[in-house]
C-alpha cells in the first residue's frame, strides 16, 4: 500500500512530478496544494484531480487524508515564513515531511523519524591519478541554455523512451528532487568550494563510473544542472561553470540542448552548436524547445519566464523547426521522432576496443 503524498506549494514547476508520478517509489500524489493567488488551472489534456487550494486544505482538514508532504523550494520564494503553516500542520499531525536541503533550517524542529531530506549523494573518494575513467556505456547528456527550460522533463522523457524500448537506462538528474522518483542526483562536490576544479571533474567522473559498474545500466542519461552560458553581464547564470565541469568529466555520445521557446534561424542554431562545441567539447545535435520563454526585466534585474500554450508551440515553433531537429516533450510526434533518431545514432555507434 502506497503512502499518500501532498505537494506544497504546487505550481507548473511541479507538474513534472505529476506527469511522472508512476516513478515515485512508495507514494501516490493525492493532494497538490495551490497557495493563495497562484495559478489554479493547468493546460493539461486530462483534468488534474488532486488539485486543492490552500484554504480548502486547512478548512477541510485534508492533512488527515495524507501521510506525507513533499516541500518544494522554488527559486523565486525568498520569504521562508511562507512555509511556516504547512510545517506546523505536519508537525502537529505527526506526518512525514520530504524536503530539499535548502529547507533544512525550517524543518529541523520536526522529529527526525518523520523527516526525509533529499540530500545529494556524498562525493566518492578519488585517487591522486588525474586520468579519467572511460564510460563504457552510451551516454546521453541533456543540457540547457539556462534555468527553467524543462530539462528535467526532457531527461525523464528520454528515460521513459529507452525504458519502454527494453533498455535499462540510468538517469543522473539535474534536479535533486528527482531522487524521489528513484533517480540519482549529482554528488555534493558541485557546490563545495573545498575541491579544486580538477578534483570536481575527477569526482564526477568516478561517481558516474561507480554507477556504471555497480548498477550496470545499458544507457546513462545525464541531466546537467544550470545553464551552459551567461545570459548577460547582469545575469551570469553561473557562467556555465557546472556544465563545463560535467562535460569535462564525461564525454557524451549524444547531447540534447534545451532552448527557450523561440523561432530559431539556421544561423542561430549554428552559433549555439559552435558555442557548445568550442566551450564544452560537446556536439549538440538535438534541440528541445521549451514552452517557456525568457525575458530580462531591466527594473528588477531578473529573468522572467512565461510559457506559451501547447498548440501555439507545436504549430508555430516545433513543426517549422523539426528539421533542426527540434522537439518538445509534450508533442508526441516531434518527441518520438527525435528520440528514435537518438536511438538509431547510438545503435550505429561502433564499440571502440
Amino acid at each position: 500500500m502506497k503512502e499518500r503524498l501532498a505537494i506544497y506549494p504546487f505550481s507548473e514547476e511541479a507538474m513534472t512530478l505529476l506527469r511522472h508520478q508512476d516513478k515515485i517509489e512508495g507514494y501516490d500524489i493525492t493532494c497538490a496544494i495551490i497557495p493563495k493567488g497562484w495559478k489554479s488551472h493547468f493546460d493539461e489534456e486530462q483534468p488534474i484531480k488532486c488539485l486543492c487550494s490552500e484554504d480548502n486544505f486547512y478548512l477541510e482538514n485534508l492533512i488527515n487524508n495524507i501521510d506525507a508532504v513533499l516541500l518544494c523550494k522554488f527559486k523565486q520564494l525568498n520569504d521562508m515564513s511562507f512555509y511556516e503553516r504547512i510545517i506546523s500542520a505536519v508537525q502537529s499531525n505527526s506526518k512525514q515531511i520530504i524536503y530539499t536541503p535548502e529547507l533544512e533550517s525550517l524543518v529541523g524542529r520536526i522529529d527526525a523519524d518523520n523527516r526525509v531530506c533529499l540530500k545529494p549523494p556524498e562525493s566518492p573518494s578519488i585517487t591522486n591519478n588525474d586520468e579519467l575513467f572511460n564510460i563504457d556505456v552510451p551516454v546521453i547528456m541533456v543540457l540547457g541554455v539556462g534555468e527553467n527550460c524543462d530539462k528535467l522533463d526532457t531527461q525523464l522523457s528520454i528515460y521513459d523512451y529507452f525504458n519502454k524500448k527494453g533498455y535499462k537506462p540510468k538517469l543522473i538528474s539535474s534536479n535533486i528532487i528527482s531522487q524521489i522518483m528513484g533517480m540519482s542526483a549529482f554528488p555534493d562536490c558541485i557546490d563545495n568550494h573545498k575541491y579544486t576544479f580538477l578534483q570536481q571533474v575527477k569526482i564526477i567522473n568516478t561517481f558516474v563510473k561507480n554507477i556504471e559498474l555497480k548498477e550496470k545500466p545499458e544507457l546513462i542519461i545525464i541531466g546537467v544542472p544550470g545553464g551552459i552560458m551567461k545570459y548577460s553581464k547582469a545575469v551570469p547564470n553561473g557562467y556555465g561553470y557546472v556544465p563545463f565541469l560535467i562535460s569535462n568529466a564525461i564525454a557524451p555520445d549524444v547531447a540534447v540542448l534545451s532552448l527557450y521557446c523561440g523561432d530559431y534561424q539556421e544561423e542561430k542554431i549554428k552559433e549555439i552548436k559552435s558555442m557548445c562545441y568550442y566551450r564544452m567539447g560537446v556536439m549538440a545535435n538535438y534541440f528541445h524547445i521549451s514552452n517557456k520563454t525568457c525575458n530580462y526585466d531591466i527594473e528588477t534585474k531578473q529573468l522572467n519566464y512565461y510559457p506559451v500554450d501547447k498548440p501555439y508551440l507545436i504549430e508555430n515553433l516545433i513543426r517549422p523547426q523539426e528539421n533542426i531537429p527540434a522537439f518538445n516533450v509534450l508533442d508526441d510526434r516531434s518527441r518520438e521522432k527525435a528520440f528514435e533518431a537518438i536511438m538509431k545514432e547510438l545503435q550505429a555507434n561502433i564499440a571502440v576496443v
Binding site: P9, K36, G37, N78, F82, N295, Y306, P307, V308
Partner: protein, 470 residues
C-alpha cells in the same frame, strides 16, 4: 544614415554607429568628413567607405519595425502583469495651478469630477492582477488620483484584500498624494504594509503654496509639513519610505527650490526628491524653462560627474542620487552589440499595461497613469472585457507609424519615445506627423546622453554601479 559624429571636448572626436550601438574614436579630418556626409554638404565618401570596409557605419540592417514582445504578447499579458495603479478618485481637495484635474487650460487629458472608484472595481482590479500574474514574483498595487486619500478607507481595504488573496509573493504598495490628508489615523492603518508614498512637494512654502492650493486659495504647505513631521515622529519606518515629487513650474525661483531641499534635509530628505519639469505631453502650450533653471540643474549634474570621477568628496552622494542613477542608466543604453537584427524596434517603449497598468474609476485600462483618459488609442481594455490584445499590440509598436524614419535613425537605440509621448490624444491611431514632430527634441536629448557617456569613458569611468555607496 545611421551614424552620428560628435565631439565631447575640443580635440576629442567620435562617431556613434547605430547598427552596433557603439562609439568609435576618430580624428578631426574624419570627423569633419563624416559631418559633411551627414549634412549632405560633401559627396566625397572615402572616409565613410574606409569605415564601412571594416564593417562599421554600415547602412541600417533593419528591414522591419516590430517590437520583440509582439510575437508572444498575449501570453505575456495573460501571465506576467506585475503592477496595477488605481485611479481612486477623479476628485482632489487641491486646485494645483498646473494639474490637469484643475481645468487650468494647460492640459486637456483629464477633467476633475466628483467621481470616486467603487470597491467593486478595486476588488475586480486586484483579482485581475492576481489572475494575470502567475509568472510574476513581485506584485505592486498603487493608488493614484485625483487625490487617492479622498477615499482613504478604500485604499486601506484594497491593501488588506491584496495581502489576504496572495501568499508566497513579494507584495508592495505605492501611493501618490498631496499629503494634506495623510493623517495619523491613516498612517497607523498602513504602517505595517510595505507601502511607499510619493508626496507632491514643490519646494519652499511660498512656491508650493502658489501652485498647490485649496479651492479657497489657501496654501497646502503647512498641512503637508505637519503631516510629514507627525509621521517622522510616530512612524519612523513609514517615514523612510516617503519620497517627493517636485514639479518645477516655469518662471519659479529654481535656486530657492534646490536651496530649500538642501537646507531642510532633516525632514525632506534630498536624496528622495525627484525634480520634474512640466510634461510636454497632451498640451498645445509651449512649455519652456529659462537659463537659470538649466544652470542650477547642470550644476547638480556637474557635481554628480565630479563625484563619480572621484574629484569631490562622496559625502555629497545622497543628494545627487537621482543624477547618479541617471548617469548609470547610460551604460544600459549604450551597451555595444554585434549587430542590429533585421526585425527591431526603437528603444523607449515598455509593453503597455504590463508594468504599470492604470485602471481608472470606471474600470478602463490604460498603459500607465500619465495617459490621456480621453484618448481612444490609449484605452487598451477594461475589467469587464480584459485586455484588447490588438490594441495593446498597436500601442506597443509605436515605431511602425514612422517606420522609414526610424529604420534609418541614428538614435534608434537611444530613443525615449513611448506611447504617451507619441499620442496626441485626438486620433484613433498614432499620427505620423505628430510623432515625427517630436523627433528633433528626442535626438537632441540622445546626443547629450551620448556625449556625457563618452566623456565619462574618456575619464576611465567604468560604470560599475557597486563601486559607489549611496
Amino acid at each position: 544614415m545611421p551614424f552620428m559624429p560628435f565631439q565631447t571636448r575640443p580635440g576629442f572626436y567620435y562617431v556613434y554607429d547605430m547598427n552596433k550601438n557603439s562609439v568609435y574614436k576618430t580624428d578631426k579630418q574624419r570627423y569633419d568628413s563624416l559631418c559633411d556626409i551627414k549634412n549632405e554638404s560633401n559627396e566625397d565618401t572615402r572616409v565613410l567607405s574606409e569605415f564601412q570596409e571594416k564593417g562599421l557605419l554600415l547602412d541600417s540592417s533593419i528591414e522591419r519595425i516590430e517590437h520583440p514582445a509582439s510575437q508572444l504578447l498575449e501570453y505575456q499579458m495573460k501571465r506576467c502583469i506585475s503592477t496595477v495603479t488605481f485611479q481612486m478618485s477623479q476628485n482632489c481637495n487641491l486646485r494645483c495651478s498646473y494639474c490637469p484635474y484643475s481645468d487650468n487650460g494647460i492640459y486637456d487629458n483629464r477633467a476633475r469630477s466628483d467621481k470616486n472608484i467603487k470597491w467593486d472595481t478595486v476588488q475586480k482590479g486586484i483579482d485581475f492582477l492576481i489572475a494575470n500574474s502567475v509568472d510574476s514574483d513581485n506584485l505592486h498595487v498603487s493608488f493614484y488620483g485625483g487625490e487617492p486619500l479622498i477615499v482613504k478607507e478604500l485604499v486601506v481595504r484594497a491593501m488588506r484584500y491584496t495581502v489576504e488573496q496572495i501568499s508566497g509573493k513579494n507584495i508592495t504598495f505605492g501611493m501618490t498624494t498631496n499629503a494634506t490628508l495623510l493623517d495619523h489615523k491613516f498612517a497607523e492603518a498602513v504602517k505595517d504594509f510595505n507601502i511607499s508614498i510619493m508626496v507632491s512637494l514643490d519646494g519652499p512654502k511660498e512656491i508650493h503654496d502658489k501652485n498647490r492650493s485649496y479651492a479657497d486659495g489657501r496654501g497646502s504647505f503647512d498641512t503637508l509639513r505637519e503631516n510629514i513631521m507627525n509621521i517622522k515622529e510616530h512612524f519612523p519606518e513609514l517615514y523612510k519610505k516617503i519620497t517627493y515629487n517636485t514639479v518645477i513650474y516655469p518662471g519659479t525661483s529654481y535656486h530657492s527650490i534646490f536651496e530649500f531641499f538642501r537646507n531642510n534635509q532633516d525632514i525632506f530628505d534630498y536624496s528622495k526628491v525627484s525634480f520634474n519639469e512640466l510634461s510636454q505631453n497632451y498640451t498645445d502650450m509651449k512649455i519652456s524653462y529659462d537659463e537659470s533653471y538649466y544652470s542650477e540643474r547642470n550644476y547638480e549634474l556637474l557635481k554628480a560627474y565630479l563625484l563619480l570621477l572621484g574629484k569631490i568628496n562622496n559625502k555629497a552622494a545622497p543628494e545627487l542620487k537621482g543624477e547618479i542613477e541617471r548617469i548609470y542608466s547610460y551604460k544600459q543604453i549604450f551597451t555595444p552589440q554585434k549587430s542590429t537584427g533585421p526585425i527591431a524596434h526603437p528603444s523607449g517603449t515598455c509593453v503597455p499595461g504590463l508594468k504599470k497598468l492604470f485602471i481608472d474609476v470606471n474600470g478602463n485600462f490604460y498603459p500607465c497613469e500619465r495617459i490621456d483618459e480621453n484618448s481612444a488609442l490609449m484605452n487598451i481594455g477594461s475589467l469587464e472585457k480584459g485586455f484588447d490584445i490588438e490594441k495593446v499590440r498597436e500601442v506597443l509598436n509605436v515605431g511602425t507609424v514612422s517606420e522609414e524614419a526610424c529604420r534609418n535613425c541614428w538614435a534608434f537605440h537611444c530613443c525615449n519615445m513611448c506611447p504617451i509621448s507619441s499620442d496626441n490624444g485626438k486620433d484613433k491611431h498614432y499620427s505620423k506627423s505628430y510623432k515625427l514632430s517630436k523627433c528633433n527634441n528626442v535626438k537632441a536629448i540622445a546626443l547629450e546622453k551620448l556625449k556625457d557617456y563618452t566623456m565619462l569613458r574618456e575619464f576611465k569611468f567604468d560604470f560599475n554601479e557597486e563601486s559607489i555607496m549611496l
